[in-house]
């Protein structure tokens, strides 16, 4: 019985939130929706953790949907890399839902709560599905499930600010273009190989050589995913989307959606196309690496001058994605390791920061930076969480941000790319500038006369501090994350010779 349950875990990971979503939509009134969603996310996290423990030794789980063996049928394939991402997505979902209850009650109209949590579950289903599937077309389907529900989640911020609607609409247009490009690219690859299973695609492309169709396929898929992960200069949908979304959604999406897109990019780049594709190496070296560095500097500069805390955090996300892309573009074991570890590190730090912004929104009614003067006096715990998570964003030692920057600088130095290493270190100064700017405002400015704001409720403080605590804990003891990242990088490097068990 237990063995049968373990065998079915990969599909349960997806099916549980998928089934919970319509139940919440139909019967989720009066707070039941939150309870079902939260319980489901906890179970999903338990499933992901079990899968992670199973594949930690480097083994691969392959699940055949409907009993149809790949490459004909759809395959769910769990290895160390996507198990790591599954843990991130399901864990962040659970903690964000814990936070969402009080935050969403204030920011979304009561009659929409059931739909909100149903959509949240669908978004989670989509993100988990993108991560777990071993079938490239299935990846597209899940990518669209997560994106479509993501647009709806962002538009739920319309009660607070109607601009959430245009933000969601812009994201919809850009995201749909991205998805279309992805499918066009996939169609070209299907034309060449006649298969959609990633491992099968990889095997067939290895001996294929080079052709213009293949290059076009690669370019379309790459641009499609780059739109989804907000790679500079395709990032324009992101600042407004994260600024106007409900705080819990900003926190959830910033920690998961772009991370899952980075994961999809890693899969396509290294599992499907393989490490030895010269065209891919050129694209990464000549286009992605410079763009990523420009992204870090431009986005950080914009963040420094942002007038709104959430907008500042959104621009900072674009800069942080730049670090992940540098790690990919270095095309080495250390670089990939830095990217994978930064997936986790940025997820926990940015989730904590957006949660702080949500707490300010709840108590002060705004996230406009000038209006947050002296708020640390009234909300000491929330403000302390901001400083600690902000330090992690900067990359101060003993925080997770330091670990990922350390690996990134090391990876650049081993290839004698010292200008890249230098720029990465220099960019931390910019990060420090915008984090300091907020710290100064909330701690050292006088609060406006006669304004008192109470501390955030415990149901919001606890999730914020869980993320802050994680970003400190894994900064001091990075054993688990760096081991997982290192093995994931190994798996990606040797991905071309993966076959079904």
């Amino acid at each position: 019985m237990l063995q049968a349950l373990l065998h079915q875990l990969p599909v349960l990971q997806i099916v549980l939130p998928l089934v919970a979503a319509p139940i919440v939509a139909a019967f989720g009134g009066n707070g039941r929706g939150w309870m079902i969603a939260f319980a489901t996310s906890l179970i999903a996290f338990a499933v992901a953790a079990t899968l992670f423990a199973e594949v930690l030794d480097g083994s691969v789980i392959s699940y055949h949907l409907g009993g149809w063996a790949p490459p004909i049928g759809i395959e769910y394939r769990v290895d160390i890399l996507n198990a790591f991402v599954l843990v991130i997505v399901s864990g962040v979902s659970a903690i964000c839902l814990l936070y969402a209850r009080a935050s969403i009650a204030a920011e979304v109209e009561e009659k929409n709560h059931a739909f909100f949590y149903a959509t949240f579950l669908l978004c989670m289903t989509g993100l988990l599905g993108v991560t777990i599937t071993g079938d490239a077309f299935n990846l597209f389907v899940f990518l669209e499930i997560s994106s479509l529900s993501g647009y709806a989640l962002i538009s739920a911020g319309a009660k607070r600010d109607r601009r959430a609607l245009t933000a969601a609409y812009n994201y919809l247009v850009m995201g749909t273009i991205g998805a279309t490009f992805f499918v066009i690219g996939l169609g070209l690859l299907y034309m060449l190989t006649g298969t959609l299973n990633m491992a099968d695609l990889a095997a067939r492309l290895t001996g294929y050589g080079d052709s213009r169709t293949l290059r076009m396929g690669f370019a379309f898929i790459f641009v499609g995913i780059a739109l989804k992960l907000a790679m500079f200069p395709l990032h324009l949908w992101l600042p407004n989307a994260y600024t106007f979304a409900p705080s819990a959604v900003s926190s959830f999406l910033s920690a998961t959606a772009t991370k899952v897109a980075v994961y999809a990019l890693l899969r396509i780049l290294f599992t499907v196309f393989g490490f030895d594709s010269a065209f891919e190496a050129n694209v990464l070296r000549l286009i992605v690496l410079p763009l990523a560095i420009v992204a870090i500097f431009v986005a950080s500069f914009v963040a420094i001058f942002a007038e709104d805390l959430k907008r500042m955090l959104a621009w900072s996300s674009i800069a942080q994605i730049g670090y992940m892309l540098i790690g990919i573009a270095l095309l080495s074991h250390e670089g990939l390791m830095a990217t994978v570890i930064h997936l986790f590190n940025h997820a926990v730090a940015k989730a904590a920061l957006f949660m702080v912004a949500g707490a300010f929104m709840l108590r002060a009614g705004t996230t406009s930076i000038p209006d947050l003067r002296g708020i640390a006096r009234d909300m000491p715990w929330t403000s302390a969480a901001f400083v600690l998570a902000g330090l992690s964003l900067v990359g101060v030692p003993l925080t997770v941000g330091f670990i990922s920057k350390w690996y990134l600088v090391q990876a650049a130095l081993t290839q004698n790319l010292w200008p890249v290493a230098l720029l990465v270190v220099l960019s931390s100064l910019l990060t420090l500038t915008y984090v300091w700017r907020i710290t100064e405002t909330i701690y050292m400015r006088e609060a406006p006369a006669g304004v008192r704001r109470s501390e955030a409720p415990l149901s919001m403080l606890i999730p914020t501090w869980i993320f802050t605590g994680l970003s400190l804990y894994f900064g001091i003891d990075a054993g688990l994350t760096s081991m997982a990242a290192s093995r994931a990088a190994n798996a990606l490097l040797g991905a071309s010779n993966l076959f079904w068990q």
Partner: protein
Amino acid sequence: MQHHLILRVVARLLLPPIFLYALYVQWHGDYGPGGGFQAGVIFAVGFILYALINGVDALTRVVPPRALILLLAAGLLLYAGTGIATLLLGQDFLDYSALSHDAVHGQEWGILIVELGVGITVAAAMTAIFLAFAGRSASVEDKDW
């Protein structure tokens, strides 16, 4: 639309064949082109035509919005429930062979049930989307921007 006698009469004549055709596409999906998605869209077209001729209020009297939401959920649950049933019968998710004494019948029943779920959800979703647009009450005012 009360004064458009021709439209009303023709619509009334068309509605039964539209629903019948939707059901044909639904159940004939095994043997020919068709299936749940197409059938669901055609079925919703019947409702939408009804609302176009008789007004949105008349449609919400026939299918209340609450019923639409329940149908939306029911279709998806029927689909996923089939998968869970196959899990409980000891097979992989959506392996219909477990549904009957022999694999061929199991596969046939499985796909029929699943497509019915798709049809219900698509029909309800299409009608709900139409209602969301046609039943809009307040427009966005200038000061909201």
